[in-house]
């Protein structure tokens, strides 16, 4: 849902961004995300989806306009306050950005370690989540040994392990098959049910149609909103999840063998 008001998780007002002296890659972006909402961010390649997400996860500063996260105006928020805000945001990067010298376990454990969670609790939660995303047998494997799809799942597990209030995912299902894609989408929906606000940038129109969540559409740096189509009967997330989980073991074992 796009709402107005100060209780929004994310609020952009006339935000513009340009790199150096180049043209504006984002122009007059204005939207607000209510707590617990689920949005797809759509747009052609180069439309500015990743840039918009970067502004939302505080990797970039806008050249104009106002960004507000969790009620904090980013223009007046000190650098010292940023880590606390970032801990409330989970990010699935398009290129995963896993730390290759660390095992899958240690990569997923990072947000908890950064937050000062005790090691015994970390172990329990991380193993549980890695098992859920089908990487139980890859806990101590480094990302360089993992396939693209497995790396993506590690990246997703890292993004959700700390139960973020806002989850931003840039093409989170780009390297997995449809079954795993639906399984991961279900994970996002479960998180969403627990109150996490979710924004997923994707090209996968099939997935978007199936899940039927509201859409933010970027076109040449400008943002528009789409009315969601009703998901087709039997194409709800729950239905898709049931289908995905039934085949997940086979998929998991085939990846383990690989």
């Amino acid at each position: 849902m796009i709402t107005e008001g100060s209780d929004c998780v994310v609020r952009f007002e006339s935000v513009g961004l340009r790199y150096g002296l180049g043209p504006e890659v984002l122009q007059d972006i204005s939207f607000a995300l209510a707590p617990g909402s689920f949005h797809f961010l759509l747009g052609a390649s180069g439309a500015g989806k990743s840039t918009l997400l970067k502004l939302m996860y505080l990797a970039l500063k806008p050249t104009r306009g106002l960004i507000s996260l969790f009620g904090h105006n980013m223009a007046t928020t000190s650098r010292r306050q940023l880590p606390a805000l970032r801990r409330r945001i989970g990010v699935v990067f398009q290129d995963f950005r896993l730390l290759h010298h660390l095992s899958a376990f240690d990569n997923v454990a990072l947000p908890l370690r950064v937050a000062g969670v005790r090691e015994n609790e970390i172990r329990k939660h991380v193993v549980e989540l890695l098992t859920w995303v089908g990487l139980k047998d890859h806990v101590n494997i480094r990302p360089t040994i993992l396939s693209g799809g497995q790396q993506q799942r590690v990246a997703i597990a890292r993004a959700v392990i700390a139960r973020p209030k806002l989850l931003l995912a840039d093409e989170p299902t780009g390297n997995v098959d449809d079954r795993m894609a639906m399984r991961l989408m279900h994970l996002f929906e479960e998180l969403n049910k627990l109150g996490t606000t979710i924004v997923i940038a994707t090209h996968n129109e099939t997935l978007v149609r199936r899940l039927g969540h509201p859409r933010l559409r970027l076109d040449a740096g400008c943002l528009d909103t789409d009315t969601p189509d009703q998901p087709a009967a039997g194409e709800t997330a729950a239905g898709a999840f049931a289908a995905a989980t039934s085949g997940s073991r086979a998929e998991q074992s085939s990846e383990s063998a690989a």
Binding site: A59, R79, A84, V91, L99, H101, D106, P111, V114
Partner: protein, 293 residues
Amino acid sequence: MWARRSDLPLDHDALGRFLPWLIAFMVYLAALALAGMLLLNTMAARWDRGMGDTLTVQIAPADTPEQDALRVRATLGILRSIPGVARAQLIDEGRLMDLLEPWLGPGGATKDLPLPRLIDVELKPGAQVDAAALATRLAAAVPGTAVDDHGVWLERLIRLIRTVEALATAVLLLIGLATAGTVVFTTRTGLSIHHEAIEVLHLIGAQDTYVARQFAGRALAMGLRGGVIGLVFAVPTLLGIGYLAARMQAGLLPDVSLGPQHWAALAGLPLVVAAIAMVTARLTVMRTLARML
């Protein structure tokens, strides 16, 4: 401060392997400079303490041994009558020859050489004896006597020692600065090499201190490792120098062996260098990260 585990592959970069050896070299030099400084300090204090309460009276040689004996007896009589004098002792000829041997060579000082007679005067602790007045009094009674309170010589020697000490301190400071500079360079390079991993840590909510702790822990470990290596090489060097100095002493040099307190100070060097490395790394990381978003 000690990082038990690191999220950054700091030990795998080439700089990580090079830093301990550089620190080892610094500690080796610092150990030599510190040992020199401590020895000079001890030496100056000992001379200051030992010479401050002594005088030497020199009696010019007379024509005959009998006259020499009379003059010595008269001088000793006057000296021993002075309240501040604890002891006045004629330095025998054998000892006099030994003292002259380094300059004249073995057998260089013969009986034929007219040598002044020397009286070693030890003053009572805290006693104030006016050396100039004593010299006048002695010269009046025994012409050709001179009094040396070692003041000029001692003052010059101690000034020289203090200068060398200041130089050694400056060397130590320079070594400390060079160590800090090296750590700054390697830390900045490390920050640059691991920029992407650090950015990921930041984006998942790591504070600057979290990243800085990992660099500081690494610098501490490397400082300790390098410090111990440097000290291991410095100890035999210092023992060798002490051995050579002891062999060539022959009355020219005072005892220059290191005492337990000196060894303890040297043992603390790796800790000090490691602490410098740790603090420098932490400050460097904090300052560099403060410029990031």
